[in-house]
Structures are given as structure tokens and as C-alpha cells.
């Protein structure tokens, strides 16, 4: 009978393992870095080998005890027998030293019994325990002392016994080496010393008993019985090297039991393969015998089991729970089905598990999973000590040794900054997208109290050294960006400038963001700032490496040399995903100034920023869109964007062509907070609305004038006349006949193609200079300047262009009627690569406009211009509408040029864009420019589609804005969020003003965040109202305000309108905010802002603006008995 192979890892964790087969033991060494196995030694001719155990002694690492069928146990040193194995036939060599332990007749019970198991104690390697087959006259468990045999085996260092054990009387055992004899008339199938113990020995006795022997008592025959637990079947026991008390057993009933050696009455946990049904385990009839179980030597609670003939190893994660009190007992019903303890079969003991003693920790199966499937059934496996992964070495029944790693799933988490964190066993790896524009001082950055101002200046001038210094990626070193050298912020500015409502933010003292001006250099994007160490290789060592003993040479994967430079393209897509994701892109955009702003410079800046978006986003379309926005803003500056009640701001081409409804003229104010609403309504009733600001009145006036004319066409004509010089557009002489010339003109203006002769020629020159002569030639040709077109092509440096010029010359009028060559040209067009050459050929040879505008490579505005010039009215209408419809559900931002933003179709495009690109930032910015709040007052009588659409649009815009605010918050870009809100409020009130609402209604756009209520009369204190009477008392109840906890003076409400003048005009700026009051929301103590800030932060600004001498900074509240740490969250 050929026995199963067994594999065993070095008990001390050295990279060695032993494989046993029917009559031989082989020792191998494992080199993890090279992923190779080398044969070290082996010993053959071990007749009747039944079990073996590897001694944990430190003296040598090749001492093995071999138990045989005959009952003998031999100690072998594998490396000493190596020459023997190599020269098996050579009888001249003396045999390797072997120490034999065999029971004499008296002790052995007369007949020879097989030795089932042998084990060493790790605490005392001289102790060896043997488990013997059952015999009526002898003990089944023998403990030997091997010390005396060691010198014969060439082991010099003799480790002393840790604690001497009492001995069974020598007469009885008959052999001085026998220390103890246990388990009379019983058979032991498996045994093991508890980890780090020389006295506690656990054994599987008589296939029924889980027994724990305490070797300190030599006799157990007549004395008290050793601790034991009864179970249905037990054939194998293993101990957990990481838990001194945990024992696992398995028997023929295929159930694994986990025991606690302190209480063997019942197993702690029982489970079988059936528990893993959820993980694809098959419930075989009764389950297959479990042939191998083992605890991981390196990972707590990891247990593995192998079924007979299985080609997968199953892992179990066992975690210990809380100690359970009696009433908290787990009933099987309360457990989830999957982890139900094996109770379905009516197994008595598992039901009893729920009644375990109070002080015992419960165990759970937290998780189970399989190793990968091996090609052939496994005979045995062993854990390779490795903290990171489940590393196994296994041997198949044919003797193939295989190392395999069963990877663990890593935890993953994303941070708000786009950082990806991955758990690695006990460690945590982070991947941070480096923005390169980070690190700018933020308004609330409090300078460290110890740092001197001078140091800060140095610090800021030092900044460029860490910035754009050039790197391996080919980024040149950058000149220091001017904005980085912003003057140091005044030290006393401890609080956010968000409260500085009236100061233009660009002039904010701590504002380090670039001014939105088109010429300002952008903060250079140094995404490649930090030299990163990428160690790119495709196969990590140790992953599924197979070393097939007999057939395949191990192939060690050659790790690529780690490279500091950019890893070759194509393999970094996952990195790119993290780095170039929209979440990172949006944050970078904000930091570089992508923002809402009424000035056209803002649009240019946004366009420039969008241009730098990483590839793969819609950056060129986004850039085009912002340029178009800029252009449109330029055409229709705020305040003069409407004509005859038609508001042209940011209208799309389609709207211009088809016409749109005039902006509803209303005198009813927009929704306002309740209090203001009532007052305004009263004002309306009183007729005091006449007191509305002069700007508004003039607007009313103007509008009534406008209204006299009426009609969309005339409005367009008026806009055009406002804009165009008397002479016509350059291209108009080639334009098709049209009934809606004015609309065409305006639409062209929207596209930026309303050029006069000069302008057109300039643009052609521009194209030529920009290195696209074909583009220049194309437009020259469209404007019938054939000679010029050919000339441009002729002077081109590209030979193909010169050749093409000849072809084109032949085609152009008056020679254009050469039809026979048409087919030839068609073929030629297909082959041309340059889109403009194709267009020219299409135009000259075939005169096929339909084909021309199908050239998707051409910029959208150019295609629109072509359509507007050369399509007749009907074709133009159908083209525009068709395009708008086609673009509607695509995320094509350029479609917005056609549809405009504040239309249903435009919003649909934006919707699709947000859905796909996730760029809620752009959506929030764009819609803030155009989408006005609906007029709720009007909707009472007219629930027209228009109003409802408007409402829906506004609602969507609001949600985009809200989502964007949340994003900014989670990036801690509160100041940018405030700026966004302020700009948005300005734009919205502008829009309302244009519509005729009150020009100033800022409160309704940014929800009020704080209200002050009088403590006595509970009336709201409106800032500004009571400013005129010195506000030391409540304007309603005239009770004084609470006193400042520092200066004990009554607080006051500073006048809002005095502040701007105080700040702006005076040579010594005095901020009224300093006189405002602040309260701790926890202890409710507070006082003057400047006093409280001084109390907590120590420094204060003197009256003359100088920094006052450092005052002591406090941590707790200034009120005597209060120990609140008010400023902790500041």
C-alpha cells in the first residue's frame, strides 16, 4: 500500500520543507526571491514509514523522527544521509547514524504495534511523544527523552531540559529513555504538544476522545483522569501556534471541531464543508474525509482544511467574539443561516454549544474561501510562514510540489481628495494624485505663533524650489509663477475673509489665487512633481508560481528594473484612472481658478484651465464652450443683452434662428424670504415701489421704449445694427439667398464668424500662421478668393499641399465643369488625410455641402458658419434642428452652442454630460450664468409649460450647484465655495434685475446661515436696520445686549454699511467685524470678536495695524468656571 505523501514545513519557520512518500523523506529548500526549490537531502529505504515529525531543536535543522508500522521510531539526520542517498548502490559507505526507539516486549504488549503519530515539544526539543496503536496490554502514548541519543547523531549542543518531568518507574518501562507512559489499552491516532509547552500534550484517543495530558503528573492510570472531551469521531489533532489554548480536531465524520484546552467539555466551534455552501462548496453525501488540517503559523485565526481527493484547500477565518453572558447566548436561530453551526443534522453537541460557560469567548467563522484549484488532487499541504498572504506549499499525489498564494482581498477606500487607499495585510498603501497646485496658503491658515514674519516671506519665495523643478517626464523647469510670490498675509487675519462681504474678493488680503486675467500665467500643473517609485512588473513573485518537481523547471519571473521615469505608455491605465479622474480634475481646476465670474476674463481663464485637462476628458470641447461663452458675453455684455424684451445673452444658434420668446416683463419681485416678502408686498400696496433704485427705474423706462417696436425680427435687426458697421459681412456676397438675413448675421456673430473683409483676411492669415495652410486656403476658397487659396497652398512647406493646389486650380471655375473626372476626385477625396484638403476638394469638385459639414473633424463653430453661409433657409432650419435633436442626449458640450444652455435641449445635453463625465462643476458654473429662478408669483395663474420648464431647469441647476458646494466643502475649499455663492448671487440678481425684479435681493440666493435673536424679546436682529442708532441695545425691547466676557462692555451690532468705508477709506483700516460678537455654540459664552480671538490665539492687531506684542493664548473659555474649549473647532 502506498501511503499518501505528506508535506511538512520547518517547525522554526526556516524556508525548508520535507516531503514524505512511501519509504523516503526528502528535504527541500525554498528560495522565495528566486522562486525556486532545491533538493537538499533525502533518505530512502524507510520501510513502513507511517509518520514523521521534524524536530524544532535549534541545534540542527534536519533532525526527523520517523514512526513506522512496526512500532519503531527512528531519529534521522537527513543531511547526514545525503551521500548515502546519492550513492545508494555503494555499500562502502557506512550507514547514516540512526537512533532507534522501540518498546520492549513488556511495554509493547507482546505484539508489534504501529506508531501512528510522533511529535516533538517546541519548548523542550528533547521530548518526543509517540502515539501507538491500540493494545490490550500496553499504553498507547509514550514520551521519550531523546537527549542521550543526540551525540550519536552528531548533535553536539545538548539543550537542557526546561523542566524535568516526573518519570514513570524504569522497571515498568524497561527503557531509561522512556519518560512517561500514558493511555493504557488505548490507541492514539494523533498527538501534539501545545505550542511553547513541554508538559501539555493533546492527543486523539480511541477515535473518540480529545484528551489533554499534563505530563507533570506521571501517572494517570489510577489517578484522576486527564482532561478530555468526547466527540463523535476524532482522528487528527492540530494546535494553533499563535494561540496556546486552541486545538482543532477532525474525524471521520468530516466535522472540524475547535477546542479550548482549558475546557474540553465541548468544542468551541464545529463546522464542516457544508458551512461553505455559499462559497461554492458542494455538500457531498456526508462530506468527504478531511485528510489535512492546519492552523496558520503566521496569521491568527486562519485555519485550512483539505478533503480527500480534493484539489482545493479551504481556508477558514476564525475570530473570537465577546465573552458571552448567559442571557446573551446565541441560539442557532439567531445566527445567520450560512454560519449556522452544524445543527441541521441534529448533532447533539453543536446544539449544546450554545450553552457554553459564561466566561468563554465565542468563536465565529468570519469568512471562508478556497485556494485556487490545483490541477490534480492534493495529498497534503503546509502553510508557508508569511504574514501577508495565505501561502501554501502542497504536494499532489503524484509528487508535484507546488507553491501557491491565495491572495486576500484588499480593503479599498477612496478619499475625498481622490486618494485611493489599499490595505496590505497589516499595512495601508495610499495612492495620491498629486495636484501640484496645492499648498497655497488658505485664508484660515493661522501662521504658527513662533514663526517670524520674515520667515514666512522666505518661505513663500522658497516655494518655487519644490515646484516645477523639471523632472524625468520632460517637464522643463518652470520659472517661479508670479502669484506664488504674493505678499505674506497679515498675521492677525485669523478669521475667514468670507465674512468680508463688501470687499471685492480679488483684493482680499489673503487671496493667493490668480487674478482672473487672460494674460496671467496659470499656475503650472506639476502633476509629476514628486518622483515616484514605480516598480513595474507584470508578475509579482510568489503568485501562483508552480515548480513542478518532475517536469517543469521553475521559471522565475524577472522583475523589471524599477524605473524612476515614466513607465512606458499603455501599462499605467489604472494609475491614469486615479490621477485623471474627474474628481481630481475638478479640484485642480478650482485651485487654478476655474470659477464663476461675471467678467469675460473669467471665461478666458476657464477656457485656458479646461484646455489643460488631461487627455481623455472632453477638454477641447469644454475649451471651445468657454470660448464661446466668452464671445457671447462679449457680444451681449450684461445690462445690454436684451433688446425689445428679448434677452440674447448666451442664446444658442438654433434659438437665434428660430426665434424665442421674449423675457417676461414683470414688476412682481421674485420670491424672497418670508419677512421681506411681506414688507415688499406692503410696499407694493402702498405704491412705494416707486422708491426702487434708479437703475431699475431707468430699466423700466427703457423697456417700455423697447416694447413699442416689438417683434423678434426687428429686435435681431436692432442688435445687428448696434453691432455691425454699415458695410456688410465679407462673405455675404457668396451667401445663399435668404429670407432671414438678420438672423443669419446674428447667428454668425454667435459663432464668431461675422467677419468683414479685413476680419476674414486676418483670420485666414491667422490660420496660415498657425500652421494650417489648408484651413486658410479653404476659407479663402469659400470666400471666392481662389487665387489667394492657391497661393496659400503653393507657399506651403508641405509638398502635398503644393501638388493639391494644382489639382484644385484645375477644378476651380471657370474650369469647374469637367464632370468626367468626378469619380476620380471622389476616390481622391477619400484618400486625403487633411480634413481641409478634403473639404476643398469636396467644394471644388463636387460642390457637396452635405458632405462637407459631415466632416466631424472641423470645429463645430466652423461647420455652423459654413451652414449659415451656404445652406438655404429650409436646409439650414432642418440641419440646425436635426443637429440639436441628435446632440440632445449625447454629452457633446459643443451642442450647447447650438441649443444654448437655458433651454430644455441644452439642459438635456448638460444632463447627459454630467451623467457621463461627472463634471458637475462645469454644469453648476454654466447654469449659474443663465438659468434664472422661475417666477413663482406668475405661476399661480399661468401654469404654462414654459414656466414649468423654467422651474425644472432651475431646480436642476440648484441641485448641480448644491452638489458642487458639497464637493468644495469636502475639499475644504470653503473660500472658493463662498466665492461661488457670491458670484452666483450676483449673477442671479443681475438676471432678475434684467427681468425687472428688484436689483438687490442677495439674500434669497444664499440661504441665511445665521440669525441673531434678542435674548430678551426673542425678536430677530436685522443687521443694518438698527445700525443707525448705536446698537448697544435691542432695537425692539431696548434691553441691553449681553456683555463681552473679556471687556465686560455690552455688545453691539456693528453697522454693516459703515464697514466698507472704514476699511476702504481710512489710512488705518478698522474692520467693524472686530466689534462683532462671537459665541461658543457649546458653552454659549462669547464677546467681541477681537477680544475673544485675542484670548484664544494670543496676538491681536493694534489700532495702527501693527502686530501687538504676543499675548498669551488660552485654551479654555475666559469665563471663570467654564472649562469649555471653545476654540478647538475654530
Amino acid at each position: 500500500m502506498s501511503r499518501d505523501r505528506k508535506i511538512s514545513w520547518n517547525p522554526r519557520g526556516e524556508p525548508q520543507f520535507i516531503v514524505s512518500s512511501s519509504a523516503q523523506l526528502a528535504l527541500y529548500a525554498w528560495d522565495e526571491s528566486a522562486a525556486s526549490i532545491s533538493h537538499v537531502a533525502s533518505t530512502a529505504d524507510l520501510a513502513g514509514l507511517r509518520c514523521f515529525s521534524w524536530s524544532p531543536t535549534e541545534s540542527c535543522d534536519d533532525l526527523v523522527a520517523v514512526g513506522s508500522d512496526s512500532g519503531r521510531v527512528e531519529l534521522h539526520r537527513l543531511s547526514l544521509s545525503a551521500p548515502l542517498a546519492a550513492n545508494a548502490g555503494n555499500a562502502l559507505f557506512p550507514s547514516a547514524p540512526v537512533a532507534t526507539f522501540a518498546l520492549r516486549n513488556a511495554a509493547s504488549g507482546g505484539t508489534s504495534r504501529a506508531c501512528n503519530a510522533v511529535a516533538f515539544s517546541s519548548a523542550d526539543p528533547n521530548l518526543m511523544a509517540c502515539g501507538m496503536d491500540k493494545s490490550k496490554a500496553a499504553q498507547g502514548l509514550v514520551v521519550w527523552d531523546i537527549e542521550t541519543e543526540l551525540p550519536a547523531l552528531g548533535i553536539d549542543v545538548l539543550p537542557a531540559h526546561v523542566t524535568p518531568l516526573p518519570r514513570t518507574s524504569a522497571q515498568k518501562s524497561g527503557d531509561a529513555r522512556i519518560v512517561q507512559l500514558h493511555a493504557p489499552t488505548e490507541g492514539v491516532t494523533s498527538l501534539s504538544f501545545l505550542p511553547h509547552s513541554s508538559r501539555l500534550l493533546t492527543a486523539a484517543v480511541n477515535s473518540r476522545w480529545m484528551r489533554l495530558y499534563d505530563l507533570r503528573t506521571a501517572q494517570s492510570v489510577n489517578g484522576t483522569l486527564p482532561r478530555q472531551g468526547l466527540c463523535k469521531s476524532i482522528s487528527d489533532v492540530v494546535v494553533d501556534p499563535l494561540d496556546a489554548c486552541r486545538i482543532a480536531s477532525v474525524g471521520d465524520d468530516t466535522v472540524v471541531r475547535i477546542w479550548d484546552c482549558r475546557n474540553l467539555a465541548l468544542p468551541m466551534l464545529t463546522f464542516s464543508e457544508r458551512e461553505a455552501l455559499g462559497d461554492g462548496a458542494r455538500a457531498r453525501g456526508g462530506g468527504a474525509a478531511v485528510t489535512g488540517i492546519e492552523f496558520s503559523p503566521s496569521r491568527r485565526g486562519l485555519f485550512a482544511s483539505l478533503e480527500r481527493d480534493a484539489s482545493v484547500v479551504r481556508f477558514w477565518d476564525i475570530v473570537s467574539g465577546e465573552s458571552v453572558s448567559a442571557e446573551h447566548n446565541i441560539t442557532p436561530d439567531a445566527l445567520p443561516k450560512r454560519w449556522r453551526w452544524a445543527s441541521s443534522s441534529g448533532d447533539q453537541e453543536s446544539l449544546q454549544t450554545s450553552n457554553t460557560e459564561d466566561d468563554r469567548a465565542t468563536l465565529h467563522l468570519a469568512e471562508t474561501h478556497k485556494s485556487r484549484r490545483f490541477n490534480r488532487p492534493l495529498a497534503s499541504f503546509a502553510f508557508v510562514p508569511n504574514q501577508q498572504t495565505k501561502h501554501l506549499v502542497s504536494v499532489s499525489r503524484d509528487g508535484d510540489i507546488e507553491f501557491s498564494v491565495t491572495p486576500d482581498p484588499h480593503l479599498v477606500a477612496w478619499s475625498a481628495r481622490g486618494e485611493l487607499g489599499i490595505e496590505l495585510g497589516r499595512r495601508w498603501r495610499v495612492f495620491q494624485p498629486v495636484l501640484g497646485v496645492d499648498g497655497q496658503p488658505r485664508p484660515w491658515d493661522t501662521p504658527a505663533p513662533t514663526s517670524e514674519p520674515a520667515l514666512r516671506i522666505n518661505g513663500s519665495s522658497k516655494l518655487p524650489t519644490t515646484f516645477g523643478r523639471g523632472d524625468d517626464d520632460g517637464f522643463p523647469a518652470l520659472p517661479p509663477a508670479p502669484h506664488r510670490l504674493a505678499p505674506p498675509r497679515p498675521q492677525a487675519q485669523l478669521y475667514s475673509p468670507a465674512s468680508i462681504a463688501r470687499i471685492p474678493l480679488e483684493r482680499g488680503p489673503g487671496d493667493a489665487t490668480p487674478r482672473p486675467s487672460a494674460s496671467a500665467p496659470l499656475p503650472e500643473d506639476t502633476t509629476s512633481l514628486h518622483p515616484t517609485r514605480f516598480n513595474a512588473h507584470f508578475a509579482s513573485p510568489g503568485r501562483g508560481m508552480k515548480v513542478s518537481h518532475s517536469r517543469k523547471a521553475s521559471k522565475s519571473p524577472a522583475p523589471r528594473a524599477s524605473s524612476k521615469s515614466r513607465v512606458p505608455s499603455g501599462q499605467k491605465s489604472s494609475v491614469r484612472v486615479v490621477r485623471d479622474d474627474i474628481s481630481v480634475v475638478m479640484r485642480r481646476r478650482v485651485l487654478r481658478g476655474y470659477a464663476l465670474g461675471p467678467e469675460s476674463a473669467n471665461f478666458a481663464l476657464n477656457a485656458a484651465i479646461a484646455k489643460d485637462d488631461p487627455a481623455g476628458t472632453d477638454s477641447h470641447k469644454l475649451t471651445a464652450l468657454w470660448k464661446w461663452m466668452e464671445h457671447s458675453r462679449h457680444l451681449f455684455p450684461p445690462g445690454s443683452s436684451s433688446c425689445n424684451g428679448y434677452d440674447f445673452a448666451f442664446r444658442g444658434v438654433l434659438a437665434i434662428w428660430d426665434g424665442f420668446e421674449p423675457t417676461p416683463v414683470t414688476t412682481v419681485p421674485p420670491p424672497l424670504p418670508a419677512e421681506e416678502q411681506t414688507s415688499l408686498l406692503e410696499a407694493l400696496v402702498d405704491g412705494t415701489i416707486q422708491d426702487s433704485p434708479p437703475s431699475m427705474r431707468s430699466m423700466h423706462h427703457q423697456r417700455s421704449e423697447d416694447a413699442l417696436d416689438g417683434g423678434y425680427a426687428s429686435a435681431v435687426a436692432r442688435v445687428n445694427s448696434r453691432r455691425f458697421r454699415p458695410r456688410d459681412l465679407a462673405m455675404e456676397k457668396v451667401m445663399v439667398a435668404t429670407a432671414k438675413l438678420e438672423q443669419r448675421r446674428l447667428a454668425l456673430a454667435i459663432c464668431g464668424w461675422d467677419l468683414d473683409e479685413m476680419g476674414l483676411n486676418d483670420r485666414i492669415m491667422e490660420f496660415e500662421k498657425a500652421g494650417s495652410p489648408t484651413r486658410a486656403a479653404c476659407w479663402a476658397m469659400f470666400s471666392n478668393q481662389y487665387a489667394k487659396a492657391l497661393e496659400i497652398l503653393m507657399v506651403s512647406t508641405d509638398e502635398r499641399h503644393r501638388i493639391m493646389s494644382g489639382t484644385l486650380a484645375a477644378l476651380l471655375p471657370p474650369n469647374a465643369e469637367r464632370k468626367p473626372a468626378k469619380e476620380h476626385y471622389e476616390r481622391m477625396i477619400v484618400r486625403l488625410e487633411d480634413p481641409y484638403l478634403r473639404v476643398m476638394m469636396l467644394y471644388a469638385a463636387l460642390h457637396d455641402w452635405e458632405e462637407i459639414i459631415r466632416e466631424e473633424v472641423l470645429p463645430f463653430d466652423e461647420r455652423l458658419a459654413i451652414v449659415l453661409f451656404f445652406f438655404d433657409d429650409r436646409a439650414l432650419s432642418s440641419y440646425l434642428r436635426g443637429r440639436a435633436e441628435a446632440l440632445r442626449y449625447t454629452a457633446d458640450l459643443e451642442g450647447l452652442i447650438l441649443t444654448g444652455i437655458a433651454t430644455k435641449a441644452g439642459a438635456d445635453i448638460l444632463d447627459a454630460y454630467v451623467d457621463i463625465a461627472g463634471d458637475v462643476q462645469t454644469a453648476a458654473l454654466l447654469t449659474s450664468y443663465v438659468i434664472c429662478p422661475p417666477e413663482r408669483q406668475r405661476s399661480v395663474d399661468a401654469s404654462s409649460d414654459h414656466t414649468r420648464d423654467e422651474e425644472r431647469l432651475f431646480e436642476r441647476a440648484e441641485r448641480w450647484a448644491e452638489a458642487y458646494r458639497t464637493l468644495l466643502d469636502s475639499w475644504r475649499l470653503f473660500d472658493y465655495r463662498c466665492k461661488f455663492d457670491i458670484a452666483r448671487g450676483q449673477l442671479l440678481s443681475e438676471a432678475l434685475a434684467a427681468r425687472g425684479g428688484p436689483a438687490e435681493a442677495p439674500y434669497s440666493w444664499v440661504p441665511g446661515q445665521l440669525r441673531v435673536r434678542c435674548n430678551t424679546c426673542k425678536k430677530l436682529l436685522e443687521t443694518g436696520v438698527e445700525a443707525r442708532n448705536k446698537g448697544m441695545q435691542c432695537p425692539t425691547c431696548k434691553k441691553p445686549f449681553p456683555r463681552c466676557v473679556i471687556c465686560m462692555l455690552a455688545l453691539e451690532v456693528p453697522a454693516e454699511d459703515v464697514r466698507a468705508s472704514n476699511l476702504g477709506a481710512n489710512s488705518t483700516p478698522h474692520d467693524t467685524v472686530d466689534d462683532g460678537f462671537i459665541f461658543c455654540s457649546t458653552c454659549r459664552h462669547g464677546g467681541h470678536a477681537r477680544h475673544v480671538l485675542e484670548w484664544f490665539f494670543g496676538s491681536s492687531e493694534g489700532e495702527d495695524g501693527s502686530i501687538a506684542p504676543e499675548a498669551e493664548a488660552h485654551e479654555v473659555c475666559a469665563v471663570g468656571e467654564c472649562d469649555c474649549r471653545c476654540a478647538d473647532l475654530f
Binding site: K337, P407, V412, L424, D438, T527, G918
Partner: protein, 358 residues
């Protein structure tokens, strides 16, 4: 370019969960070693440093969740010791230097608490926990200033039939019977893992997606403050059942995205068209993607959306973290995988292995 960093020896035993706070500047990790560690990131250098580290439970900590900063710096931790604890960062104690104080310990669960999640800030300081006694518990903090008083608002037995709304399939066996050679009585115990994920948007009321091992579907449970909780949608997850679920931030999109990893190694993405809020909001779903790149049988144990819901990271038993992203044609695609293992535990082994399959 990415900067990579390594937080060495975060724990003395396996890390079981990790969570970033709202700003991404704090990272809490917990482990089998019963400890919680809080790390803070230097905003300028991007370096992480340990801020505090304490023994939190009497058993392995199973999960962590940060509350919205509006309520202070608060972390909830769950553990196999059947408790959920709430920790708040306070001023450093003068004697011990400890910053994190246990403000509450919730011990209603009758089994190991597997996961917890704070509700979006707008709903108040609320916490949902899921324990292996199959009960979903909703706690609310009554005094959010101290964070100490927590009241158990709802207890929801996930096995209870009322949760299975009528139109959704509750019986889930036929396919299994075909694959299992001998259908044993326990074959219906097919299941996945414990997982819950809040809808981050407040527009539709408090909604949480839950999966438990005993149910082969993801359930979306609406937890209105005054009314009974209701299962508004259940999404069957074929074969293997859900193991983890993650609800993407909405971020202005017109539809919700729900990702689900299952025990059979699939990563699935569902699209949930945003229902019109109000009475009887109609939740529906359509499958958007189904990937099996993790390999058959390699259960997917974690799916995570990034801030914008544009990249999905999934982690499976093949030991890889895979990234998924939608293309411009709105087709979800694999973006390769990251294995961040170092070859050895060596301290100098900071190199990262970047493996990408295209």
C-alpha cells in the same frame, strides 16, 4: 502622476476596515487586534502620521464609519463583541494624551455587529448598524453636542417577510437546484456578506442599501423618520448573492449607481433611475454592467466608489484591486488593476508594483 505612500505596520494583526473622513484628511483603520488607529494627513506634503491609537473593543473590530464633520469628529466602530461604539475626538487629555473618547457604546445587537454607516448629515446624527443576528438597527443621537445619548429608533429584522415587497422575487432556488448535484436541505443558505451603503443624496429621504448573507438580493430600505421603514426595492443578485454593496454619490446625475460585488466573483453595476420624490417613489433598476474579471469563485469582498461616482474600485479574492470606469459612450470598462504588494515585508520595500492589463 501618483504619489504613493505606505502606512507601515498599521496594526499588529490584519486590518479589517479603513475609512476616510469627509475631507479625506483623516484615515481610521481598525484591525483584528481590536484597536483603532487614526491617521492624519499633512495637507501640504500628503504624508500620513498616526494621531491616536487605542484598544477599542474586546474582539476584532469589524468596521468603521465617520460622521459628517458638522457633528464633530466622530467615528463609529463595530465589533464581533456585539457592540457598536461611538468615538469622538476631543482635546487631548492632559494625563494620557488621548484624544479619542468613547461617547457611547450600543449593545443591542445579539450577534457580532458587522457594519455601520452614518446617515447623510441632513438627516441628523443617525447611525445604522447591521449585525449577524440579521437585524438592521437605526440609532439616533438626541444630543448631538455631546454625542452621548443614542436612542434605538428602529429594529428591522432583515429576515422578516414584510421587508420583501410584493413584486420582487423572494424565492430564489431554481437555478441553484440545477447546479448543485444533490440539493441538500441547506442549499438555500446561499448568501453573501454583510454590507450597507447610504444614499448620499437627501432628496429621496433616508435610504440605505443593505445586503445580508441570508438574502440573495440587495434591498433598498427607506427609513422615514416618522413612518415604518419600507423596503422600496430589492435587486436580485443571481448566483452567489451579494457580498458587498456601495451606493455612488449622485453628484447631479439623473440616475443613481449601485455597485455590488458577489460571492461568485462578479462585479455588477446597477442604474437606478432617480424617482420623483414624494409619495410612493418608484424605485426601479436596470443592470448596467456585469464583470467577472476577478475570476470565477473569487468572491468580491469590497466595492467602493470614488468621490464623484466615476471610478469604482473592487477588491476580490484574486488579491487584486480592480478599477472600473465608464467610457464616454457610457459603457463601463475595466481599467486594469492595482496590486500594491511589496515583495517582502522589508522596511525598504516601498516600491509599488503596478500591474495593468489592457
Amino acid at each position: 502622476m501618483l504619489q504613493t505612500g505606505l502606512l507601515p505596520s498599521a496594526h499588529t494583526d490584519l486590518v479589517t476596515d479603513a475609512a476616510y473622513d469627509f475631507y479625506g484628511l483623516k484615515l481610521a483603520t481598525c484591525g483584528v487586534d481590536q484597536r483603532i488607529k487614526v491617521w492624519t494627513q499633512d495637507e501640504n506634503s500628503g504624508q500620513w502620521a498616526v494621531e491616536d491609537d487605542w484598544k477599542a473593543h474586546d474582539a476584532p473590530v469589524t468596521s468603521l464609519s465617520w460622521a459628517h464633520p458638522e457633528y464633530g469628529t466622530i467615528v463609529a466602530s463595530t465589533s464581533s463583541d456585539r457592540t457598536t461604539k461611538v468615538w469622538e475626538r476631543r482635546h487631548a487629555d492632559a494625563n494620557t494624551g488621548r484624544r479619542w473618547i468613547e461617547v457611547a457604546s450600543l449593545s443591542d445587537a445579539k450577534g457580532a455587529v458587522r457594519c455601520a454607516g452614518f446617515a447623510p448629515a441632513d438627516f441628523g446624527l443617525k447611525l445604522v448598524t447591521l449585525a449577524s443576528d440579521n437585524v438592521l438597527r437605526l440609532y439616533e443621537c438626541l444630543e448631538s453636542a455631546s454625542g452621548a445619548q443614542w436612542e434605538l429608533r428602529e429594529e428591522l429584522d432583515m429576515a422578516s417577510p414584510f421587508l420583501s415587497t410584493a413584486p420582487t422575487p423572494t424565492v430564489f432556488t431554481p437555478r441553484l437546484a440545477l447546479t448543485a448535484p444533490s440539493p441538500s436541505p441547506t442549499s438555500d443558505s446561499e448568501g453573501g456578506g454583510w454590507s450597507l451603503s447610504w444614499c448620499k443624496e437627501t432628496y429621496w429621504g433616508p435610504c440605505v442599501a443593505v445586503c445580508t448573507p441570508s438574502a440573495p438580493f440587495i434591498r433598498i430600505i427607506h427609513l422615514p423618520p416618522a413612518l415604518r421603514p419600507q423596503c422600496v426595492l430589492s435587486i436580485p443578485v443571481q448566483q452567489g448573492g451579494p457580498a458587498c454593496v456601495s451606493w455612488a454619490p449622485l453628484l447631479g446625475r439623473t440616475h443613481h449607481l449601485l455597485a455590488c460585488g458577489s460571492r461568485d466573483g462578479h462585479v455588477r453595476i446597477f442604474k437606478l433611475p432617480a424617482p420623483t420624490p414624494g409619495e410612493g417613489a418608484d424605485w426601479s433598476y436596470e443592470p448596467l454592467a456585469d464583470f467577472d474579471e476577478h475570476g470565477q469563485g473569487n468572491a468580491v469582498s469590497k466595492v467602493e466608489w470614488n468621490l464623484t461616482g466615476t471610478v469604482l474600485a473592487s477588491s476580490g479574492h484574486d488579491g487584486r484591486v480592480r478599477l472600473w470606469k465608464a467610457s464616454y459612450s457610457n459603457v463601463w470598462r475595466s481599467m486594469g488593476y492595482v496590486t500594491a504588494e511589496t515583495s517582502e515585508d522589508a522596511p525598504g520595500g516601498e516600491g509599488i508594483e503596478e500591474e495593468v492589463e489592457d
